[in-house]
């Protein structure tokens, strides 16, 4: 574990003791979470397992087969043993593949819980083997992709992360190409509004989304193929990203890995705070979802930026830092290596704040120094942007400056229409041109400048860190759940026994088993 900036000294003159205390408290908080969620699974975690066993497709009513299968077992009260148990048993008893089993269940031809039960050991072995095959297959695809990335050349940080959000996957392809042509490194296919709330993943290509395009496996494939083609043609690899967040975190993680997505926004807190998803449900789903992302080499992006969209950016700064420490530990607890943990941060201080740029610079530098081995996903000003396109573009220019000066890992680009629309095709290009200009014109600025000892920047960073420490130590006392109830993040309060998806939490029974978790766990401690 590295606790200091690589090479150089701290530009912010941070106290290593305070940092260590923060990390310590965050570890404690993450451990408590692990304890709290142990002994539970969720319908979506189990659906993730079925997907990793090869189940895909939807029934005549458009219900995805993973849902049909898991609901079938859940209705019969069997989910406490884990879906793998029942599928494994059915494989032995019927000699069918998991997909065939799902189809049979869907057709009403098979009752999984009514079959004769094979020996537990045999079931485990059978299903683990099936799962292992599938993991190797995906890993194989990932290795091919890694090779492609290396062959085409990987862009240097900060990677330019650009959203597309037309609602129509085919239009997204057009936008994505324009983004690629203008130098975008990562295209993030933003989801249709409220997909978070669906307790299933829609099936097939979609053209009717609002504020984004549904995350479906077919849509993922269409985007990936289009961008692979572009990448080969232009000799530059373009990454893809989407969202795991919501009620289907682990399933989407599986789909993304299968379709060769490189990044995934993965943060339960978003769903909890802004979509009113139950806290425990979110945290269980996140644990497994991140594990899957981590295992397949996918970079996860956390969502601290969101807090600054509802809380004041200066007041809430310590909560962002605290959340980064917690998210970092939670991601590690899922086995995600630091290089794949892109913690969230945002440039959201209000336009009229005197010395706002200095505070932003301090905060951005702080994140880099606290997590030197993690890329950071740095988000543009959005909250205070309005219909004055030029005002937004000016704010984006300073945002770009702070990004390059502090060497962020991933930067979501700002666009002039931020305060009005999901951006029009040329707005993304204008945004990227701004990034290009600033990143190049200020390339070595970070190296060049030192901050005045005890000046505004250092003092601000130290104050934010101190605030984070206080907060973390408080949360370590009360627990994360209590903290969320106390509106610690984003000024939003949620209670542990409220929220969507709570009915999908399942207490595991003796003999529960999850081959995905086991295989991945083995791998990460091998």
């Amino acid at each position: 574990m590295s606790t200091s900036t690589p090479g150089a000294h701290s530009k912010l003159d941070l106290d290593p003791g305070v940092i260590a205390a923060c990390r310590q408290a965050a570890k404690q908080i993450a451990d408590q979470v692990s304890e709290r969620i142990a002994g539970h699974t969720t319908v979506s975690v189990e659906r993730g397992v079925t997907r990793l066993l090869g189940v895909d497709g939807a029934d005549a009513l458009e219900a995805p087969l993973p849902n049909v299968l898991v609901d079938h077992v859940h209705d019969r009260g069997g989910l406490g043993r884990g879906i793998a148990y029942w599928v494994g048993n059915a494989m032995i008893q019927t000699g069918r593949t998991p997909q065939q089993i799902a189809e049979a269940v869907s057709a009403g031809e098979l009752d999984l819980c009514g079959l004769e039960l094979a020996a537990e050991e045999a079931i485990r072995e059978r299903v683990t083997e099936e799962c292992g095959t599938r993991l190797r297959e995906i890993s194989g695809r990932f290795e091919e992709r890694r090779a492609m990335r290396e062959r085409l050349g990987d862009a240097p940080a900060p990677l330019r992360y650009v959203l597309t959000a037309t609602g129509d996957v085919y239009e997204d392809v057009v936008h994505a190409k324009a983004v690629a042509e203008a130098g975008g490194d990562i295209v993030a296919v933003i989801r249709s509004t409220a997909q978070s709330l669906l307790d299933y993943v829609p099936y097939g290509p979609t053209t009717e989304g609002y504020g984004g395009t549904f995350a479906t496996q077919a849509n993922f494939r269409i985007m990936r193929e289009a961008m692979d083609e572009w990448s080969e043609q232009h000799g530059r690899y373009v990454r893809l990203s989407s969202f795991c967040s919501g009620l289907c975190m682990s399933e989407i993680a599986v789909m993304g890995a299968w379709e060769g997505f490189d990044n995934m926004v993965n943060d339960a807190l978003y769903g909890i705070l802004y979509r009113d998803i139950n806290i425990v449900r979110g945290l269980i789903d996140q644990r497994i979802s991140r594990m899957i992302n981590g295992y397949f080499g996918v970079v996860i992006n956390t969502g601290e930026d969101n807090y600054l969209r509802t809380a004041d950016a200066l007041e809430a700064a310590p909560s962002v830092t605290a959340s980064q420490f917690i998210n970092h530990q939670l991601a590690r607890a899922s086995g995600v290596p630091d290089a794949q943990i892109a913690l969230g941060d945002a440039f959201e201080i209000d336009i009229p704040v005197t010395n706002g740029l200095l505070y932003e610079w301090a905060q951005a530098q702080l994140t880099r120094e606290l997590f030197p081995d993690c890329p950071v996903k740095y988000m543009p000003p959005t909250r205070h942007m309005d219909g004055n396109l030029f005002r937004t573009h000016a704010a984006d220019t300073l945002f770009n400056l702070v990004t390059i000066a502090t060497g962020q890992g991933v930067q979501t680009i700002g666009v002039p229409t931020e305060g009005i629309f999901t951006p029009h095709i040329h707005d993304r290009v204008l945004g990227l041109q701004n990034v290009d200009y600033v990143f190049n014109a200020a390339r070595d600025l970070g190296e060049e400048v030192e901050f005045k000892p005890g000046g505004i920047i250092q003092t601000h960073a130290q104050r934010v860190l101190a605030g984070a420490q206080e907060l973390l130590e408080r949360i370590a006392q009360t627990g994360l759940l209590q903290a969320i109830e106390g509106a610690t993040f984003g000024d939003v309060s949620r209670r542990v026994d409220d929220g969507r998806g709570i009915e999908g939490i399942v207490t595991t029974e003796d003999g529960y088993f999850n081959p995905v978790v086991e295989l991945m766990h083995e791998a990460s401690y091998a």
Binding site: A165, G167, V174, K177, A178, A180, E181, A182, T193, A194, L197, Y210, G211, Y274, R275, D276, R309, T310, D386, G387, G419, I420, F421, T422, H424, I425, H426, V429
Partner: protein, 252 residues
Amino acid sequence: MPREIDLTAVKPYADHRGDGLVQLSFTLPVPYSLAARKAALELAGKMGFDEPEVVHYEQLTEGYTYFVMYGACAHTVDFTALEGEGFNIEYMTEDEIESFAAEHVGRKIVVVGASTGSDTHSVGIDAMLNLKGYHGHHGLEGYRSFETYNLGSQVPNSVLLAKAIEVDADAILVSQTVTQQNLHVQNLTELVEMVEAEGRRREMILACGGPRVSGELAKELGYDAGFSKGTYPHHLATFIVRELAARVASTT
């Protein structure tokens, strides 16, 4: 001597009376080419621009070309016909609203609000209703004359309406922020239809708001008023108390 402005035939102004200059930008789904440039000029001509000019154009991706243009607008508008509507609608202060309500309504005014449909943007409706309010002006919750129910975000229209009926609301207040493909128009229209289906339209004030809502749009959709960026709680409250006072007056 300075040239006079003819308010019956107003044109855009850049640096000389009547120059009519307007800046435009857009993308055409055609390949980057001289023909694309001509297409843009032709389009601007159809919009009624004299001497349209492309000052910048570039390829976005194959088959898509972006343009920045200027042109001299040939159309004019008769401003005198519009002048009636001043800008400074006289909004009352919180205190004035309280006493106006006490005098003209004489009971608590019940309002129910939400951000509806799949919209999770709650900051707008919270700004209007919650005690904290907006930029130092507190929300209706802080007014003695109002009884406020803020159902938050992602609220189905049916739930919002049911609550309004339950508490016998004087006004339903809707916020809409996600507007891509006119999602807000769909959501807003659905609510009006539901209220009408319940036969409640006459007895309830319906107001909506959001960054891309306008008074015109709201009225077109069957609302009594629409509010956009820059709205403060006392703007909304002024509207409600006046409207309600008028209704009270007309029914007595």
